[in-house]
């Protein structure tokens, strides 16, 4: 085992705020988010010798954070039971979909959007945040989530549709 690269720890900490933000979306509770981030850094340091220099440190940290969440936290957290089952599991194909008449107007307020994302099942919440908030490429997301690119794309598509439905539900009247 070689020692951890001198600047590894320093670089890892530059992603702290982004990791915390994501952790809060995953756990929904500030104390859990802090624990999750701390556990992520502990693990990153312990597994630092497995990190390949030149690969994407940020993606690697997000991968550790999500895996830690799935391993340690998810069973205890109360995933919302309100799943749009037909949307999550449905066989619908990408090209066979109704597009809303006025797509851009359906986004609603930031508060509604944040709430809609928080209420998504984890795999949809994560994929949407990785893609649209953290700006990872589809290939990077596939690596982080250990899933084929095609699955990433179909989850992204379904995630957006779930968000859209929820935003419509939130509307008054």
């Amino acid at each position: 085992m070689t020692d951890i690269a001198p600047d590894f720890r320093e670089q890892a900490l530059t992603h702290l705020d982004a990791l915390h933000n994501f952790a809060l979306y995953l756990t929904r509770r500030p104390p859990d988010a802090e624990d999750l981030v701390q556990e992520t850094y502990l693990r990153a340091l312990r597994f630092a010798h497995q990190f390949q220099p030149g690969t994407h440190l940020r993606a690697w940290l997000f991968q550790i954070l999500r895996n830690t969440f799935l391993t340690f936290y998810r069973r205890e957290s109360r995933e919302l039971a309100v799943l749009d089952k037909e949307v999550v599991d449905g066989p619908e194909e990408l090209w066979d979909v109704q597009v809303p008449a006025t797509p851009a107007s359906g986004i609603g307020t930031a508060v509604d959007l944040e709430r809609a994302i928080r209420e998504l099942p984890e795999e949809f919440r994560s994929v949407l945040l990785f893609a649209d908030l953290e700006g990872f490429t589809l290939v990077e997301i596939a690596q982080i989530m250990d899933t084929p690119v095609g699955t990433v794309k179909s989850r992204l598509f379904r995630a957006r549709r779930l968000v859209r439905r929820r935003l419509i539900d939130y509307r008054p009247g």
């Binding site: 085992m1 988010a33 802090e34 981030v37 701390q38 090209w95 851009a104 649209d132």
Partner: protein, 263 residues
């Protein structure tokens, strides 16, 4: 290009991840297809909305804790046994198991077998400790006084060897309950930040099975592997001891021996 083909690579197109010629083909399709254009506009609008959401940066206290962790550099001395390829491979497998294996979880009533209760109880407590290592960056500065407090709370005399040495650093000493008995838990880390928890409890009446025991030097403790964790259980004097760690097999045995001899 038809709608099906366009939508299959629409996401790559939106994100600028397509080669120029493929991007031009999608663009031509979008120019004449309002439905696909609608999909793209909706995705763009949602992405813009998400990018504009307020962020929740890490609280200052967390940043300070992690900063201390950054400064607590491990010593560079390599661990020789890890240099052997087969050991490194085994260690990597255990590490992966520790991260990816399903969380140790015990459903329903606790088992009736006292040994099983000890093992499960110590595993649960060790994993709980892993989650709660708030004080991990700040080590226990005065082990003697921490052990005295622990004794007053649990009635357990904590061996001074549990305070650690050059190789092992004491992260925490806390009272706990193992299989319905008051116990002392001490958490130690090695230089590579592998965490090991030792438990000490009154155990004169606790059983020591014949099966499942391994020979380590002149000792024969009970040893089990569960979900990537190694649990070693032994009795010494009036006390029962448990050691739980996600170290690999040889290193777990090494740490057991070190502590067993020092007690």
């Amino acid at each position: 290009m038809d709608c099906q083909e366009a939508r299959e690579i629409l996401e790559e197109y939106r994100r600028g991840e397509l080669p120029a010629d493929a991007a031009a083909t999608v663009e031509a399709h979008l120019a004449r297809c309002p439905r696909c254009r609608g999909l793209r506009e909706e995705a763009d609008a949602m992405a813009a909305g998400i990018r504009a959401l307020p962020r929740s940066p890490a609280p200052a206290a967390l940043a300070r804790r992690l900063e201390r962790l950054r400064l607590a550099r491990p010593r560079p001395a390599p661990i020789r046994w890890l240099a052997r390829p087969w050991v490194a491979a085994a260690a990597a497998a255990v590490l992966v198991a520790a991260v990816l294996a399903p969380w140790v979880q015990f459903r329903g009533r606790p088992p009736e077998d006292p040994l099983e209760r000890l093992v499960q109880s110590s595993l649960t407590e060790h994993t709980r400790i892993l989650l709660q290592l708030q004080a991990v960056a700040g080590e226990v500065s005065d082990p003697a006084s921490a052990f005295a407090t622990l004794r007053s709370l649990t009635d357990v005399q904590v061996p001074s060897a549990f305070a650690g040495d050059e190789e092992l650093t004491l992260l925490e000493a806390r009272p706990t309950v193992i299989a319905n008995r008051k116990a002392a838990a001490v958490v130690l880390r090695d230089q590579a930040w592998f965490i090991t928890t030792y438990f000490a409890l009154h155990g004169q009446d606790l059983p020591m099975p014949n099966e499942g025991r391994v020979q380590i030097d002149t000792y024969r403790p009970y040893m089990r592997q569960v979900n990537g964790f190694h649990v070693i259980y032994w009795k010494q004097g009036d006390y029962a001891y448990l050691m739980v760690s996600d170290l690999d097999d040889p290193r777990s045995r090494q740490l057991f021996l070190k502590m067993r001899k020092a007690l």
